[in-house]
């Protein structure tokens, strides 16, 4: 249903929850080769299962743009009712998304943004730059009073634009209080990568004041390395917001003092939006009768003070 002039059937929570005509939603995302992406997939399928009127088609997760394009093409051929797409590379999938839109299939772009506004009917984004800013701001609050504080960063997969965005935000926020990143390593979002990068980093920087680790899944490894090295002179901030990390924060005796949420529910939200779009429904809680075309999710900081609020919905990495 692309006819934007159509009157939405309703926009109340109850109305939106009620079963409508069955819609086929195609979902394609990158290979679930690390915890957050695994959580993204699980949350998406779990969300779809909540609705008897959703028939979810999941394509094999892949890091190959060529393959992902052919999966979307398959969805177009099958004339699914909506496509939720977490592209392996936003720009690379833009063209096929436009083709889907042209074929009358609404595309919901998740997490990694397309390079054209015509490629998606709705976009759900985490705020990567904002994440870096949140982390940097928090660290400024904690150690900003020491002008020569050593700030270290353990990034995720360096080749991904999102990593660049996070680091950019981090750098900009730190600059606000006159700090800069002294040691930076990158891992690969995996536990083993986090452990390996962290142990090397700790050897290279004998004295650290604050450390930002982009991803809580690799954080398990980072914490293991910190533990093994017996270091606790610094504060650590995480990223993504896994249940694990939150339990660490809750415990109070960990170097991990805070984590910045990067919602793992983006695809699940995408699926909900897709269903609404396909069934010509609107978003509840908005006066607007149309589903908005851009939802940027917040990147809040979770600390021991507010961890109780976030823990119940956090993902088990």
């Amino acid at each position: 249903g692309e006819d934007t002039n159509a009157e939405p059937t309703n926009n109340s929570v109850e109305g939106n929850q009620s079963e409508g005509e069955t819609v086929v939603i195609g979902f394609s995302g990158p290979a679930a080769d690390h915890g957050w992406l695994g959580a993204i997939n699980s949350a998406a399928t779990a969300e779809a299962e909540k609705y008897p009127d959703i028939d979810l088609r999941v394509a094999e997760g892949t890091n190959d743009a060529n393959l992902q394009i052919s999966q979307v093409e398959q969805f177009i051929n099958d004339q699914v009712d909506a496509i939720v797409l977490l592209p392996t590379d936003g720009a690379a999938l833009t063209d096929v998304a436009i083709r889907a839109m042209e074929a009358g299939i609404p595309v919901i772009n998740v997490d990694r943004e397309f390079s054209s506004p015509f490629a998606a009917r709705a976009t759900v984004l985490g705020d990567n730059y904002g994440m870096g800013v949140s982390a940097g701001t928090y660290i400024c609050e904690q150690v900003g009073d020491q002008p020569d504080a050593v700030v270290a960063e353990i990034a995720g997969i360096d080749a991904l634009p999102l990593t660049q965005d996070r680091s950019e935000g981090f750098k900009d926020a730190l600059a606000g209080c006159g700090l800069e990143v002294t040691n930076r390593v990158s891992a690969d979002f995996t536990v083993q990568g986090g452990e390996a990068a962290a142990s090397q980093l700790l050897a290279a920087a004998p004295e650290i004041d604050a450390l930002w680790n982009h991803d809580d899944d690799q954080g398990i490894g980072v914490l293991a390395a910190i533990d093994a090295a017996g270091r606790d002179e610094f504060i650590m901030v995480g990223g993504a917001g896994s249940a694990n990390a939150m339990r660490e924060i809750e415990s109070g005796d960990s170097v991990l003092q805070a984590t910045i949420i990067y919602p793992h529910t983006q695809a699940a939200d995408g699926i909900r939006l897709a269903r609404l779009l396909a069934q010509d429904k609107a978003m509840s809680d908005l006066v607007e009768i149309e589903v908005p075309n851009r939802v940027v999710l917040n990147a809040p900081v979770v600390t021991s003070e507010n961890v109780d609020e976030y823990l119940p919905t956090a993902f088990e990495s």
Binding site: A31, A32, N41, L56, R57, V58, A59, E60, G61, N63, D64, A65, N66, L67, I69, S70, Q71, E73, Q74, N77, D78, T88, D89, G90, A91, A92, L93, T94, D95, S115, D158, A159, L160, P161, T163, Q164
Partner: protein
């Protein structure tokens, strides 16, 4: 095995060698047709399978030559990524807009050839084992691509280039035509030219090839250049398909490509290569993924099934290919 059968002859020297693969492919098609019916069998879906296969397939054709000669090229995916980054540089695209979109093509091909040349020289003249030399290139080319692109994805802005790459001919997308062309040219090169015969000779018995007066080192360099060239062609196709150039293009292609070539029946130890087999191997892999998606299989289940099917395909291929080739070396 009959050599007088012209169809058999075309199918890579002896039909038998490919029968196993054809059976595997046919089985897969039957599974696809039974489980997804019309949705699987329609023309659009076939074109989808082929479009996906084409980029991958072009690289696999180049790899077939290297493997037939007893070598290996792990750098293909990474080199392909590098070609897309350099061809989509703002300066190149600007120049291409002012002159011709062909400039982008030329840049991509030149980068591929250059990388292949470096591989070839290190392997042939540096005597570095191909596995290591091309693994080093895999790592290094990715690094260069990241540095040059600043790790951001570069959008293809050249309209002419895009419209050419997306055109159809006789209802079939250009990408598929390119694959077909490269495959036919590869078949001809391998089976009907001195270059091809020498490639087989080097893979079968390097010393004998040298004794026959073949300039083995030079030939090895040419083989890796060829592999780089197909990576460049694939890069062009990738840019057309994704409208983007990035260092992450071609990530993890290395093993997949080799798997498709070897499942196709080319010997990893060299001395026997089949382009038809490679094409079938590539089709097998891309059809497999298509059938999986059609059936909405869980990714992890797909992985398990994929592992099993690869083994079964090779067993099938061998079941029919072993006959008549007598004692084989390298059972390991």
């Amino acid at each position: 095995m009959s050599r007088s059968n012209p169809l058999g002859k075309f199918l890579g020297g002896s039909a038998g060698r490919n029968i196993g693969l054809i059976i595997a492919l046919a089985l897969l098609f039957i599974v696809g047709a039974v489980t997804s019916g019309e949705r699987f069998l329609n023309l659009d879906n076939m074109l989808t399978i082929l479009r996906y296969a084409s980029i991958f397939g072009v690289i696999a054709i180049g790899a077939t030559f290297v493997i037939t000669a007893g070598g290996i090229d792990l750098s293909v995916g990474s080199v392909m990524g590098l070609t897309t980054v350099l061809a989509t540089l703002t300066s190149v695209q600007l120049a291409a807009t002012n002159s011709s979109w062909l400039l982008m093509v030329v840049v991509a091909l030149a980068v591929g050839v250059g990388a292949g040349l470096i591989n070839g020289v290190i392997i042939a003249y540096g005597n570095v084992v191909a596995f290591i030399a091309t693994l080093a290139m895999l790592v290094a080319a990715r690094g260069v691509a990241e540095l040059i692109s600043g790790r951001s994805t570069q959008i293809v802005t050249n309209r002419d280039f895009l419209s050419v790459m997306r055109s159809n001919f006789l209802g079939v997308p250009l990408l598929i035509w390119i694959f077909l062309l490269v495959a036919v040219a590869g078949w001809f090169l391998l089976n009907r030219t001195t270059f091809g015969r020498r490639t087989v000779a080097i893979g079968g018995n390097l010393e004998a090839a040298r004794l026959a007066g073949i300039k083995v080192k030079r030939h090895i360099v040419l083989l890796y250049v060829l592999s780089g060239l197909t990576a460049g062609i694939a890069g062009i196709m990738m840019m057309g398909r994704t409208t983007a150039g990035t260092s992450t293009h071609g990530l993890l292609y290395e093993l997949e490509v080799i798997a498709a070539v070897v499942v196709g029946g080319t010997l990893l130890i060299g001395g026997r290569g089949t382009i038809v087999g490679t094409v079938l191997g590539v089709l097998l892999f891309s059809t497999l993924i298509n059938v999986f998606t059609q059936n909405n299989l869980d990714t992890s289940v797909q992985a398990v099934a994929r592992g099993a099917i690869i083994v079964v395909a090779v067993l099938l291929q061998q079941r029919f290919a072993v006959r008549g080739t007598g004692r084989r070396k390298g059972a390991l």
